[in-house]
């Protein structure tokens, strides 16, 4: 899918510019994008390193584990089909905690493990279970507390207050997750 979209973007963009006599813009853009990409990588890099360091401390000290344990008690109500104390709950909560800390890459392995243990509970192996879809909704509504990459990008482009988005993002994420879960319940009823 990404392959097609990528090609499509470039072809459409260039053809549209050719028709509108805008070739200079495209020439500039082709060369500029290399510089932008490198700048971005260098600007994101230090903030990412810093944050990975901090979160490593949280991981080694057992803080992340403790938080996921707390969270898995809450998850019982969101995932009524999962039996008490089942592995799936702890994987799901580890995934959510990692996402909250803005560690997308650390979250994925937990997410895959969670899907595996949800599949064990699934009766029809080729069909998505209700819990799986609820898990997807939790993931896509994006429960992030510290959006590291966005903060570093804002710094790079000279924001007056790069971290000012943190609190609003938490409120928006929280509200949209709840509404998302309600929509999920309604869709589950309908299907």
């Amino acid at each position: 899918m990404v392959n097609k979209i990528w090609g499509f973007f470039i072809i459409i963009g260039i053809i549209y510019c050719l028709f509108n006599n805008n070739v200079d813009v495209i020439n500039n853009e082709i060369l500029n994008s290399c510089k932008t990409a490198l700048d971005m990588t260098f600007k994101i890099f230090p903030v990412m390193a810093l944050w990975l360091g901090i979160s490593k401390i949280a991981e080694v000290s057992g803080l992340l584990k403790k938080l996921s344990l707390k969270l898995s008690f809450l998850l019982k109500y969101i995932f009524p089909e999962i039996p008490k104390g089942h592995q799936a709950l702890s994987y799901i909560s580890s995934n959510i905690i990692a996402n909250m800390f803005g560690l997308g890459n650390a979250a994925t392995p937990f997410g895959l493990k969670a899907m595996q243990s949800l599949q064990e509970l699934n009766n029809k192996k080729d069909t998505a279970s209700r819990s799986m879809i609820t898990f997807l909704v939790l993931n896509t509504s994006g429960v992030t507390i510290i959006p590291t990459t966005i903060i570093s990008l804002r710094m790079m482009y000279g924001s007056i207050s790069p971290t000012s988005i943190v609190f609003p993002c938490i409120i928006i994420t929280f509200t949209s997750t709840i509404i998302g879960l309600i929509i999920d319940r309604i869709l589950a009823r309908l299907s």
Binding site: V2, I5, I10, I12, G13, C17, V25, I26, E29, S33, T36, L38, T41, M48, L52, G53, I54, K56, I57, A58, V60, S61, N105, L112, L118, Q119, K124, D126, T127, A128, I133, L136, V137, N139, S141, G142, I145, I146, P147, I150, L153, R154, M156, Y157, S159, I160, S164, I165, V166, C169, I171, I172, T173, S176, I179, G180, I183, D184, L187, S191
Partner: protein, 164 residues
């Protein structure tokens, strides 16, 4: 105000907790920070590819001209909304284009920050997670995921309109 407190408080809490648990905080920090090299090496080619494609598309003005009719969503945000569910790096590329042209603190810049921060790559997660366990019939999963994204976007727009 509260925003600027969150990160220092989290850092403070993490370090105090680790010291109580007798974790060698400095060594652990270095160990974690080292992992960023791997990540950044993987990130650069994807970012380059996506910034390249997205910049060509957005600078050609085709998106702005095509989507003029949707008036309640600002034009500059539309490429971000389209790409956000599909690919994380390309939406980052679009976000940086928005910051570059309109600044990170204006109406559009703030809105784009909220959208990027509160949504996720639905298609990617769907393909990866469901694919990994061999699920073929996803039922209403796609709609649930996309509706969740749409809710985040709507609340972001409302939030920026009311509070800034």
């Amino acid at each position: 105000m509260i925003s600027s407190l969150i990160i220092p408080l989290v850092v403070l809490f993490v370090i105090i907790y680790a010291i109580i648990k007798k974790v060698p905080v400095y060594d652990t920090f270095i160990e974690g920070a080292k992992e960023s090299f791997d990540l950044i090496l993987k990130l650069f080619p994807c970012l380059l590819a996506m910034i390249f494609a997205v910049n060509i598309l957005t600078k050609s003005n085709i998106v702005t001209n095509l989507f003029n009719f949707i008036s309640f969503i600002p034009n500059e945000i539309i490429p971000l909304i389209i790409m956000r569910p599909i690919s994380g790096t390309s939406s980052l590329a679009i976000l940086s284009t928005i910051y570059e042209t309109l600044g990170p603190d204006g109406f559009i810049g703030t809105l784009a920050s909220y959208i990027q921060g509160t949504t996720d790559t639905t298609f990617y997660i769907l393909t990866l997670y469901f694919g990994s366990v061999g699920i073929k019939k996803i039922k209403y999963a796609l709609w649930a995921g996309l509706l969740a994204d749409l809710v985040s976007i709507t609340i972001s727009i409302l939030f920026v309109s009311f509070f800034s």
